[in-house]
Structure formats: structure tokens, C-alpha cells
């Protein structure tokens, strides 16, 4: 297939393969790079950019699936809007089982930068930040090198392309903690504070970084923008090839004990079965699929009978889980589900920011009970207590989605594999 055709069906990844990053601005420009920025800044009003993205129905790829154009629509615009507005890229990829943003940043740093310039222009931001997790050392180096070239080429800085608009980007590297991925915690962290989430409202689009209007978007979301601007909303909607009412492609992946773990850009709504069986080659020889997480540690387990579902936001939600980041973690039948959930809850307990009591105290408690059951030392009533936890730590009971996310794999494991928990209870 020619590159031009690939660009139209796999826009996010056609320019780079695993291990073959695109790290030269002129090569990126030779493959339509920055055409969207040049066109848009010359011919489009900021509001028109937001409108195209709204029309495209691009939903946030960080996990929540909120329509990106709608998110930007809340930002104050016009002459009375605050002078300082901020765009932040959430590049704090830390959802267990997720490895898509690392690929995009290490292999195609220009594409993220181009997307950020377009969104920055659409909301008339004065400054942008890439909030990158500290462990992504290679991505930091490549983004900074790319930014220097992009700045030298005049796409960032003062009076960009003669528009009178000033905008620059800075890579801020974090120092750990999963909670930084929550957008208001991320803003606190960027301000140099402990990453405790903030109350909403006010939403960041009204009062975010340093109290100014702020948009936070995920890496993959931003990578889609140049293509939507270049080829239009209708083209983007067609990318799902009728597999889903959602638009675009999605970076799907498989980890766990499958034959060919990896990452693939596919039409959004591709079935989990196609992802696992065709692209990942199925489970390793001698292993069977026991259950799977559709998109990270904070999503409910699904079963083998759910494999034919379309991997899109609404379909997976209807099945009782969430698509989350869209990267499958497959659990094989040699695993004890109690151990698997114990591992997940250990993670969530450790990563709780400690701000609210149900999360700070409930998660370590949950972990302790699971540990006891795993050792065969569970007591009568422990399973009922875990079920109670899924309610006490559920949506609406905590300050942010951390603990409710932690309860998703637990509640689904209890639903599908109750017998395995019962085996760990002392009679």
C-alpha cells in the first residue's frame, strides 16, 4: 500500500514503525507535516478549528472518552477572555497495561507538537506544557530536540507565521505518582504542589493552571488533531469503517501472556477478538484466556465471551466495563484471580494520594483482605466486606475517580470468579 493511502487509514502511525522513529523535521514536513498548522493559521479562525474537531466527534483518548471539541468549547474566548490561557498535554502515561503514548512521543514527537500548536491556536493559549512522566527519559530527550527544531522553523515563539499569536511549549517532567494523571491533580503537580486532585467545578477550562483557563488533553488525542484539520471531520468519521459510531482510529494493544504482544493502530470499534487473535496471535501455546482488562487497571474485567464486542466507549460501557485506554491486558487460565486483584489493589493503595479517607484507608484495607484470602486465611464475611468496599469506595463516595477506578476490577472479579475467592476463606 502506498504511503498516501496508509496516511488515510492509519494517520497516527503511518510515518513511523516500532524502532524506526521519525526524528527529522524536514522528513516530517516532507510527509505533510505542519501542513495543517500552515493552512489553519492562514485560513481558519480559532473557533473554526474547534468546530471541525467537534464535528469529527473525536473523543478523548486518555480513558474518559469526553468529546475533545466540546471540552475546548468551555474556554472563554474573545477580547474579554483572560490574557493567559494554557494548554497541557497529559503525557503522564501510568495506567497499568498502557503503552501507547510512549510510542507516539518516542517515535513521532513532531506530531504531538503539531497537534498542540493547533489546539493552542484554537483556544488562543499563551503557553503550553507537556506534562511528561519522569521515567520517560527517551521521550523527554526527543521532544526537547524536536521542540528546538520546531521553534527554529518558526512554528513556535512570537508572532507565529505572521498571525500575531505568541505560543511556546515546555516539557515538564514529573517525579512519579499515578495520581498526576488525574487532570486537576496534574495541574497541582505542575504548579509545584502535592498532586492532590481539586474540586470540580470550577472546571480547568474556566480556572485551571494558576487560576487561568486550561485545557488538558491526552497525547493520543492531540496526535489526531493535525489529521482532522488536514482531511476534515467526514474523513475522520469514516475511519471507523462502520465498526462503531465513534470516529477515527485507535491505538490498541495487548499485554500479558499472548503470542505477539504489541501495539496496532486500527479502526475504532475493532473487536477485541480481532485485536487478540489476529494481531497478537492469540494466547501463548498451552494457555487459555481467563479474562481481560479492556483498557487498564481501572477497568472492569471482561470474559472470553465478550471478545466479539467492538472496542469502543459505549459498547464496552454497556458490557459493564470501560474501554479506558484501549490496551488489553489478557489474564491466562494459570492465574489465580485473587492474586491478580491483590496485585491491582496493592498498586491502587500505594498510589492513593491520601487526600480523602475512603481511598486512603479503604484501599490498604481492601489489599490486606485480599492478601489474607490469597493465603487461604480469609475469614467468614471477608467477601461480603469486599463487596461493601466496592460501594463505599465507588463513584460519588470519594474526592476523585482513583478509588472508584480501583473498585472496577475488584467488583467484576467478585462477580465472575466468586468461587475462587471462597476457596481462600477458612471454613
Amino acid at each position: 500500500m502506498s504511503t498516501a493511502n496508509l496516511a488515510e487509514i492509519r494517520p497516527l502511525t503511518y510515518r513511523a514503525k516500532v524502532g524506526e522513529p521519525l526524528l527529522d523535521l524536514s522528513l516530517y514536513e516532507a510527509q505533510d507535516g505542519f501542513v495543517a498548522v500552515r493552512n489553519a493559521l492562514k485560513d481558519m479562525e480559532p473557533a473554526a478549528i474547534s468546530q471541525v474537531v467537534k464535528d469529527s466527534n473525536l473523543r478523548g483518548r486518555g480513558g474518559a472518552g469526553f468529546p475533545a471539541g466540546v471540552k475546548w468549547g468551555l474556554v472563554p474566548m474573545g477580547p474579554d477572555a483572560p490574557k493567559h490561557k494554557y494548554l497541557i498535554c497529559n503525557a503522564d502515561e501510568m495506567e497499568p497495561g498502557t503503552f501507547k503514548d510512549r510510542f507516539l512521543m518516542e517515535h513521532l514527537p513532531y506530531q504531538l507538537i503539531e497537534g498542540m500548536i493547533l489546539v493552542g491556536y484554537a483556544i488562543q493559549a499563551s503557553q503550553g506544557y507537556i506534562f511528561l512522566r519522569g521515567e520517560y527519559v527517551v521521550a523527554a530527550e526527543r521532544l526537547n530536540q524536536a521542540l528546538a527544531q520546531v521553534r527554529a522553523a518558526g512554528y513556535l515563539g512570537k508572532n507565529i507565521l505572521g498571525t500575531g499569536w505568541d505560543f511556546d511549549l515546555h516539557v515538564h517532567t514529573g517525579a512519579g505518582r499515578y495520581i498526576c494523571g488525574e487532570e486537576t491533580a496534574l495541574i497541582n503537580s505542575l504548579e509545584g504542589r502535592r498532586a492532590n486532585p481539586r474540586a470540580k467545578p470550577p472546571f480547568p477550562q474556566i480556572a485551571g493552571l494558576w487560576g487561568k483557563p486550561t485545557v488538558v488533553n491526552n497525547v493520543e488525542t492531540l496526535n489526531n488533531i493535525p489529521h482532522i484539520i488536514l482531511r476534515g471531520a467526514d474523513w475522520f468519521k469514516g475511519l471507523s469503517q462502520g465498526k462503531s459510531p465513534d470516529s477515527g482510529t485507535k491505538l490498541y494493544g495487548v499485554s500479558g501472556r499472548a503470542k505477539r504482544t504489541g501495539l496496532w493502530e486500527l479502526p475504532i470499534g475493532t473487536s477485541a477478538r480481532e485485536i487478540l487473535e489476529e494481531h497478537a496471535g492469540g494466547m501463548k501455546d498451552g494457555l487459555n484466556l481467563k479474562c481481560w482488562l479492556p483498557g487498564g487497571a481501572s477497568t472492569d474485567f471482561l470474559m472470553p465471551e465478550h471478545l466479539d464486542l467492538a472496542m469502543d466507549y459505549d459498547t464496552i460501557m454497556k458490557a459493564g466495563s470501560r474501554m479506558g485506554t484501549g490496551l488489553l491486558t489478557v489474564v491466562d487460565d494459570t492465574q489465580n484471580i485473587v492474586s491478580v486483584v491483590r496485585n491491582l489493589e496493592d498498586f491502587f493503595a500505594r498510589e492513593s494520594c491520601g487526600w480523602c479517607t475512603p481511598c486512603r484507608d479503604g484501599l490498604p484495607w481492601t489489599y490486606k483482605v485480599l492478601q489474607a484470602i490469597e493465603r487461604g486465611e480469609g475469614r467468614q464475611g471477608d467477601i461480603e466486606m469486599l463487596e461493601q468496599m466496592t460501594r463505599f469506595l465507588g463513584p460519588g463516595k470519594t474526592f476523585c475517580p482513583h478509588a472508584p477506578g480501583a473498585m472496577e476490577p475488584l467488583q467484576s472479579a467478585l462477580k465472575f470468579f466468586r468461587g475462587e475467592f471462597e476457596k481462600g476463606i477458612v471454613a
Binding site: 502515561e93 501510568m94 495506567e95 497499568p96 497495561g97 498502557t98 503503552f99 503514548d101 510512549r102 512522566r133 519522569g134 521515567e135 520517560y136 527519559v137 527517551v138 515546555h170 515538564h172 517532567t173 514529573g174 517525579a175 512519579g176 505518582r177 499515578y178 505542575l190 504548579e191 509545584g192 504542589r193 502535592r194 498532586a195 493552571l209 494558576w210 494493544g253 495487548v254 499485554s255 500479558g256 501472556r257 504482544t261 504489541g262 501495539l263 482488562l293 487497571a297 490496551l327 491486558t329 489478557v330 489474564v331 491466562d332 492465574q335 491478580v340 496485585n343 491491582l344 496493592d346 498498586f347 493503595a349 500505594r350 498510589e351 494520594c353 490498604p364 489489599y367 490486606k368 492478601q371
Partner: protein, 180 residues
């Protein structure tokens, strides 16, 4: 010991060190002061450079001594407790001495499914340390870390800034050998 146990027993890698009164004993290196001042320029409020500042100090000393908390507070124009609050929140900032090389072994779900326990045990066996501990010769500190975003190549760990993929118990030794 699991990480949740560690937290409960107060030996978590996120240090709870109390600021002592040795602020006089610490002198911020002029290059570090300049680097922190350069970072401040990227933000609307100097406080935003607090994580950068802690990382700059840590790069030179391997960890963040008590006196550095006061020195950073002075450069940023905020209180020392504010700096300490940040320093103790983030797990990549070390408030107690660590070894020359810090091993961060991913213990999240995909690595757990592909052999984290065996890899971590192999490291512990070879170095005779558990999570949160440092070898007596100061060569290695072993810490757990959450998902490193390389789940298709697990088990994964980082040593200092290097990431090592597709580990197995019998390849751990040759990875560790690379670090003096």
C-alpha cells in the same frame, strides 16, 4: 514485603524524613542554583519549579539532604515545609540516601502476569536486599515502581535512566553487571 506492607510499617520508599536543623551544612552548588533559576523562567510562579529543583539537587547528591530543602525554599521564595511537602509526595524524589544505582522494578499488572515475582526474587537473591533496601556497599537500591509503559515487553525495570525489557530470572545478573 509488599509495597502496601511497607507503607503500613513506615518503611515506604516515599520518605517521611523530618527536617532537621542542619541547614547551615548544605550549600547549594552555584550551577544548581543557576539551573533552578533557569527552570523558574518556564512558569508563571516560581513554586512550579519545585520538582525541577529537587531533581537538580538529587542529580548532584543522589538524594535530597535536609539542608537542600531550605536552600530550594529560599531560591523559590516559598516555605521549607512547602518544599518538604512536595519532596515527600513524589516517589522519584529520595529524602534519604540511596545506592549509586537505583533499580526500579515494575510491579504493575502486565509485568506481574509475565514474571515480576521471579525477576524481583532473582534480584533480591543476587543482591541480598528486599524492596526499599540498599546493598551494604552502596551499589544498589531496590525500589518498586508502577507501570513503566512497556507492558508488551515485560517484565521491565529501570536502573537509573535506563530501561531494560523482557527480563527473566536468568538474565538479571548480566543486566546488573553493567552498573558499578
Amino acid at each position: 514485603m509488599s509495597t502496601a506492607d511497607m507503607k503500613q510499617n513506615g518503611v515506604t520508599p516515599y520518605s517521611n524524613a523530618i527536617i532537621s536543623s542542619d541547614r547551615e551544612r548544605f550549600e547549594l552548588h552555584p550551577d544548581d542554583r543557576a539551573a533552578i533559576e533557569h527552570e523558574i523562567e518556564h512558569y508563571a510562579d516560581p513554586r512550579a519549579a519545585s520538582i525541577d529543583a529537587l531533581k537538580i539537587v538529587q542529580k548532584r547528591h543522589g538524594w535530597v539532604p535536609d539542608g537542600a530543602i531550605f536552600a530550594i525554599a529560599e531560591v523559590l521564595g516559598i516555605t521549607a515545609p512547602d518544599v518538604e511537602g512536595v519532596a515527600t509526595f513524589y516517589n522519584l524524589i529520595f529524602r534519604q540516601p540511596v545506592g549509586r544505582n537505583v533499580i526500579k522494578v515494575c510491579d504493575s499488572i502486565s509485568c506481574f502476569l509475565t514474571g515480576y515475582d521471579e525477576v524481583r526474587e532473582a534480584i533480591s537473591r543476587q543482591l541480598d536486599i528486599g524492596l526499599g533496601e540498599t546493598t551494604p556497599d552502596g551499589r544498589f537500591t531496590l525500589l518498586p515502581i508502577c507501570c513503566l509503559g512497556a507492558c508488551d515487553r515485560g517484565p521491565v525495570l529501570m536502573i537509573n535512566d535506563d530501561t531494560h525489557f523482557n527480563l527473566a530470572p536468568d538474565t538479571v545478573a548480566q543486566v546488573l553487571e553493567q552498573y558499578a
